[in-house]
Amino acid sequence: MKKTTLLLAGTSLALGTTSAFAGSHTGSITAVSWGGAYTVSQIEAYHKPWTAATGNTVVSEDYSGGIAEVKAQVEAGNVTWDIIDVEKSDAVRGCDEGLFMEIDPTSLPAGSDGTAAVDDFIPGSFTDCAVANIVWSTIFAYDSSVTTNGPKTIADFFNVDAFPGKRGLRKSPKANLEMALAADGVASGDIYDVLATDEGVDRAFAKLDTIKDMVVWWEAGAQPPQLLADGEVAMTTAYNGRIFNAVAGEGKSFEIVWDAQVLDVDMWAIIKGAPNAELAMDFLKFSTATEQLAAQASYIAYGPARKSSAPYVTTYHSNADLEMGPQMPTAAANLATAIPNDFEFWADNADELNERFNAWLIN
């Protein structure tokens, strides 16, 4: 009798323990982003805390923007990515083409101050299929240890006589056309009105023509700081966070010129047919919370998309004397001639302008 009782108790214990373990399974998602310092900031602010909180893991993959690879996966019915960090115009296009899942913004967590998510995110943070995480910008920069009395305006970037040397430009019409028009004298508020006309596009390409022979083209965000560090270019356009990290993290003497910076938002989108869509959604909600967005801003100079994150943005993670606020593209001091990206314009015209840009490159 005693033995029977003991056996029954042992069986119950074993059953209970195995059931508990069986119930606490963990999973993994594949998050795709832009690599380099930017992905590092996401790993520190999003991936690691999410893993610590849920036990789920994140496999990180890099890409260079656009939706071509996503389209290939979806159309082939072989989706291996779960969640992707995209520019807003690509988020709109991807959604229109059925590549991304729809997301209800009201399902996102409220801000730390209790403000509902739809009110907490800055305007323009939501598309039907994506949620903004950061505000970043395309700026141009130079190495002040090489170029003394450096350029101050976007016009200087295009002035190879006064500021000789090669130029680095992203191999894409985005931001380049805007900056070209700004350098040609178009006010930042009028850029897209001009670019919406054939004459305006011609004018932008004409301006690019003036430096075409001097351009070194880059594709990945990690390249521009390297081009500057290697002395391959005198100045280059870049994502502002990459230059900041080269300065703050690697001690480079690069200077950012904020004139005509092109502001943009990056967004998380979940790919339709993603193998771990549910987990990816949980990751998306977690990583776009007030604290996570603010935490990311201590690793890279990109502004959080939530208003409630702003007060938590303090100093650089490895330098308590370096305030991150003034490094952000959204700091008032950096906004005077800023050009906010017109996402609708690019969603409507990206294909056409990409074609023309590629043709222009070949010719």
Partner: protein, 559 residues
Amino acid sequence: MWQKTLKLVLVSILVGILLGIFGATAAHYFRAGIHFIEQFVSNRFDNANRFVLFFCSLSTAAFIISLIKAKLSVIRWHGPADTIFAAHRVDNELDIKSGIASTLAAFFSAAGGASVGQYGPLVHFGATLGSWLKAILKLRISTDIVLGGGVAAAISAGFSAPLTGIIFAHEAILRHFSFKALAPIALASGTAIVVNNYLWNSSTFIMGLYSATDVGPMILISIAAGPFFGFVAILFMFTILTFAKLPTQMGLNQFQSFLIAITGLSIIGTFYPEVMGLGTSAIINLTTGSTLFLMAVAILFGKIIATALSLGFGFFGGVFSPALLVGAAAGSIATSVLSWMGIQSFQGPELIICGMAAVAGSVIGAPISMIMIVLELTGSYSLALASTIGIVTATMISGQLFEHSIFDKQLLSRGIDLSQGRMGIRLMEENITKITSSKILKFKPEVIVELAKAKMVKMRVNEAYVNTHDGKYIGKLHLKSLIFAKPSDAIIKYTDTEALNIKSDASLQQAIEAAANFIGETIPIVDRKTGTLIGTINEGDLLKMYLDLQGQTIDLEKR
């Protein structure tokens, strides 16, 4: 540096001596004046009907008090509660006019026969004298010195108890030990007793030296009697505070209030004249004679009701003397109960003295002062020691079940919580408008995004405010919200109307509590009445103001 220190020391000493002289003089003439009037009435109208006599004298007093109130434009009478409150502030001295008017009102109330005390008004008058000296001599000395010195002088001269004066000033009024003020306070107290004794040959009013008592049994009796004295003190305070609310609740005007008080007091005085006026002779009778149980009960309840009627319905004065008499009556009742139980060891004044000190100590929140007063007024160390148990037990009971003192309760009804300490009071007192910045960027709701953004960028601000055309606050505008906004949109579309705002009459405490959960750069301050935007504050300003107050409080209490 040393000259400055020497000057400060000399000034403090001089102020202490001056307060001692003035305090003793005021106390003497206050009591002598009341005594003179009482004697005058008694001699002239010895055979008059007692009701008519009380009715006439109280009516005369009421008339004079009304006159004082009208002529000096006094809104309310000031007493020890105001002194305590003033001692908890750094930059708020006592109002001299109200202090003098209140002392006069107390004088005529007591002289007219109302059941009021003399020490409360004298304490406040002493403190007012200190404030007055500080003001006219433009002294840059601590509030502790001027208030504490005045209070100590009043108690020292009033009771002929200089040590009690020193302790009372610290315990009941300042509520902390003030090292820098100790010498001036002691000087004021010492000077007051010297002046009182040498000029007017005053001595202890209650009793002479008391012979030794059997400490052990007395301590046991004190333990048992202490809670009883505590409950009596609670009944006394509760009745006074309840009566004080009645005229307002009943919608009475000043004349109607006085009429009720005069009639009620005249009836009580007709049957129990012992409970009227300062009650000094009744205390002496209780401590020196053997009062019957029923008489003691009548005095206890009669004094409580008479005092509550007097203070609640228009007359003014202290509660210390009435509390002493109530305590003496309670002690007499306890003595009678002991006698019934067959305990005949304490049929002298021991329990009566203990009861006086315990009830008064509970009412004014000063148990140590009461222990000291027993010692000074009886000269008996053993009686003081034995009374200690009764006093502290009573104050513990009343403090736990009611309030630290009647003054604390009065202040609490005015929204001032002394239990929060100086810092807590200062935080509730300080208004935030003094740190409000009016340098803010404001827009009308129809301004377009492009213009607002350009202006904010030009002025390098991340936050601006949106007001209606008549200046009413609508909400906050974040620069970040405008970055990707349609340039031609009106900014009202992007205005955060739910942003935290604080009303202009908020205290620093309330502002800090609100800011604790605040996220952003600045908090708008909105006029409560008009709804207009007055300015903004930020967390840094709040912290700076808090630290300033903390520094001032430390300066007041420690240095």
